[in-house]
Symmetry: C2
Subunit: 486 residues, 2 copies
């Protein structure tokens, strides 16, 4: 990583953690240059990079400042999963989340669905129509088991931005990231075996583990630094862990991007215990900062990282085009892919390759990153304004979901009748935990246009939550005497 | 089943088994009417149905005859699998078969690839282009987990031809039949558990079993009647079999369609031992006779049949659209489908639904059935003419593959250098067996135009096989003295 990015990461973490209050002046360029032994230009570059993420602002002839507006809500606390291997909890609620998508009238804040109505996707629709017409027979054939070569070439180019050098031969195109994860998990773990996962974690991945009969040890995650390496080390010492699964960039649901030093620490740990890592980078290209953060795979020296990703968040999930770079597990993963659904459909692959080749991807990403970051700020503001004061909110570094933590006494499922009545869908926190923890948390999606109707939904939830808290206080005061006289 | 079809089936089996010699007169309409207690019209209908399959021919004012041309080669013998549970043999050769597809110059007789260049598919290409242009955003969204409703409605209509009455709610669209089979198998069998399969069996399905860690008991199959119910009963008595997997219609690779009575026997057996049946009907719509044969699912009374199919053989494999009617295992299979690759891509589903709704499917099928049946006869003729005399050939009732059985001393892999030199690809028999049996067999595909180049390929193989047989004779005679003097 370039020096200015390293510096920017350090400064960014300090600001995000509230070391410098809103409105205060940040250390001068000269001071930082001396402190970190880097050139003045490097410090300037670091500040300018932070400016694009709205973490600092320049005041002419005065220096760099933490923006006044930046009075951030508190971050979610680090979770306390049980650190014992366990089976995954129920799937019913995940199914509900999928079912509810069917109705166009709902206020959908639950699904990790990108904005597919962006005009920057028009060239993709055109490519789909054109290839449907012209590719003709090529789109009807079984294609190469590893995927359309033209797409794999484009994927290799993209990978360079994430610090990876691949050849097309090292990639396998999959039917979405779900299939990539599913193949990776089944390639590494037999039923009854144990996988370590960062907690909270993507519910879809957890359902794969459930169906594969794999047990999980949940490792707590810091909302800035990511998976706790200390807790992971303990788990690796204690249990025969067959693989580690993480989402290090623009994490779902916590929003963090692991600092480069932590990523390196994770790789070292995996090397020491000789365990493979399944890296889910599905939101990586939607990191708000640019250049985008590197993947763990970029730091991988011995092929132990299986990098999984897809175009489901950056372009559209309905295309069902993902990929995996399985490192040393290539053969096993290819077999899994073949037995899972055969080769992936060529038509969307051809259309995406065309979209990438013609240079439509970079401007589309720029647009979406800006939109999602703006929406994050608006949504954060709404939640702060309408939810109870004690609410903690994540500060995502990419993607389009916020993680909300309410006082521990709250169970978000108590909102269910109200949500149903108003047609509001959220992702309850407990589906992000193997053991059904995080019942006081929820994930809210902010991909699409944030209309007044959505603010109204946030307001409704806020009022209901305040009522719940008030009733609780009332219960406590009225309950005490009852116990006293019992 | 209507009475005339029952009668036609009985007569057809007798003719296929050589009970009536080529050119002989068949029993009169009146005789059969008395013998089977049916009306004269019913017998006439049965004969007319057999005429469409070229099994009988009418001679004006004389009656019905076995066609002169019908001097059939002998059928393959019933296999002798070991009837013990075992792990599946190697995948390397299956991968080779997939790899070799890449090269457009090869003479591809190995893959189960339909003719996708038929003009009757043009409306489908048009629908793909049109929907790519107009469906736009709908094609980018995650759709209903069970698949596009418009397609499921059309599938329910199609199912009526196979004797099934479904509602769209009972179906799950999958990413090809491979995913349907994979979900069904993993829903029913944990690793180490046992499944009974008809032998020989589709190599892709066997690879799924391998990756799922499932053991198989291979049940011998008759080239006319299908899976041996007697051997299956023995296996069910002896082993804790978790599921039975069969391809009862236009079987791959043997080509048989199980008579209705055998299908019923199979269902009764499954009921008695309370075992589910995974039915692969992927070639069912390509049965040469019309109306197409019913599925096992049509005879299923208690939801124990999981019917899997797809458009990969009838339309095109590159679309990756299959489906499953999982009966009483619906919930489990839906979970498997979700964790396997998420919902299936909507665009090809929308296009296929359109193709079906506009009535393009029936004429397309008629055309393809005729083509494949004609090609079967030509290919059979070529094999008879060029291969060693002792060669046995299947008499497929649908689909586009022939199963060839050579003298037992032959190992088709001995042809490999010759095949490689001439760029000919065949499917070796041993990949259709868990234990690598059928080394003296091969499967030849006859979907595409049977050019002189293909006849030349058959000729090359025939010469090589004759040489092998000759050398063998030589080896034997020269080897004997060597032993005598040892």
């Amino acid at each position: 990583m370039s020096r200015y990015l390293e510096l920017a990461e350090i400064l960014g973490s300090r600001i995000e953690q509230g070391l410098y209050a809103a409105g205060t002046r940040l250390p001068s360029v000269r001071t930082l240059s001396l402190e970190h032994g880097v050139s003045l230009t490097t410090v300037q570059q670091a500040y300018r990079w932070l400016e694009t993420s709205s973490l600092v602002e320049a005041r002419p002839r005065s220096g760099w400042y933490v923006p006044q507006s930046r009075r951030l809500p508190e971050l979610p606390k680090m979770g306390k999963p049980s650190l014992r291997p366990m089976d995954i909890s129920e799937w019913g609620q995940v199914q509900d989340l999928l079912e509810l998508e069917r109705d166009g009238q709902t206020i959908q804040l639950g699904r990790g669905m990108p904005d597919v109505e962006s005009p920057s996707l028009k060239p993709l629709l055109a490519a789909l129509a054109r290839e449907g017409r012209h590719a003709g027979i090529a789109s009807l054939h079984y294609n190469d088991m590893q995927g359309v070569p033209a797409l794999r070439e484009q994927l290799c180019r993209l990978a360079v931005d994430a610090g990876c050098r691949f050849t097309p031969d090292e990639l396998i195109v999959t039917t979405g990231c779900q299939e990539a994860l599913s193949c990776a998990i089944r390639a590494l773990c037999a039923p009854g075996e144990i996988m370590a996962i960062a907690s909270p974690s993507y519910h879809g991945m957890m359902q794969i583990l459930k169906e594969a009969g794999v047990q999980v040890v949940e490792i707590p995650s810091d909302p800035i630094l990511g998976i706790s390496l200390e807790a992971l080390e303990l788990a690796l010492e204690r249990w025969p862990v067959k693989a580690i699964q993480v989402i290090p960039n623009a994490n779902n649901p916590l929003g963090y991007t692991m600092p480069e030093s932590r990523k390196l620490g994770l790789i070292r740990l995996a090397q020491r215990f000789d365990v493979p890592i399944i890296e889910d980078d599905i939101y990586g290209d939607l990191s708000y900062g640019w250049p985008r953060p590197r993947t763990l795979k970029a730091l991988d020296e011995d092929g132990r990282v299986l990098l999984c990703s897809s175009f489901s968040k950056t372009l559209a999930p309905g295309l069902r085009v993902g990929w995996i770079a399985p490192g040393r597990y290539f053969d096993k993963v290819l077999r899994m892919k073949y037995t899972s659904s055969g080769p992936t459909a060529p038509l969307p692959q051809i259309a995406i390759a065309e979209f990438l080749r013609k240079g439509h991807y970079a401007p589309h990403l720029r647009r979406m990153r800006r939109q999602y970051q703006r929406h994050r700020d608006i949504m954060t503001d709404w939640v702060r304004r309408h939810f109870p004061e004690e609410t903690r909110i994540s500060q995502p570094q990419g993607g389009f979901t916020l993680w909300i933590e309410l006082p521990e006494t709250i169970d978000t499922h108590k909102l269910d009748p109200m949500l149903k009545e108003h047609g509001i869908v959220i992702a309850h926190g407990n589906i992000f935990s193997a053991a059904g923890k995080y019942r006081n948390c929820m994930r809210l999606s902010h991909a699409i246009a944030l209309t007044p109707r959505i603010e109204w939904a946030i307001q409704c939830m806020g009022s209901a939550l305040r009522e719940l808290l008030a009733m609780e206080g009332f219960d406590k005061t009225s309950a005490k005497p009852a116990i006293r006289y019992a």
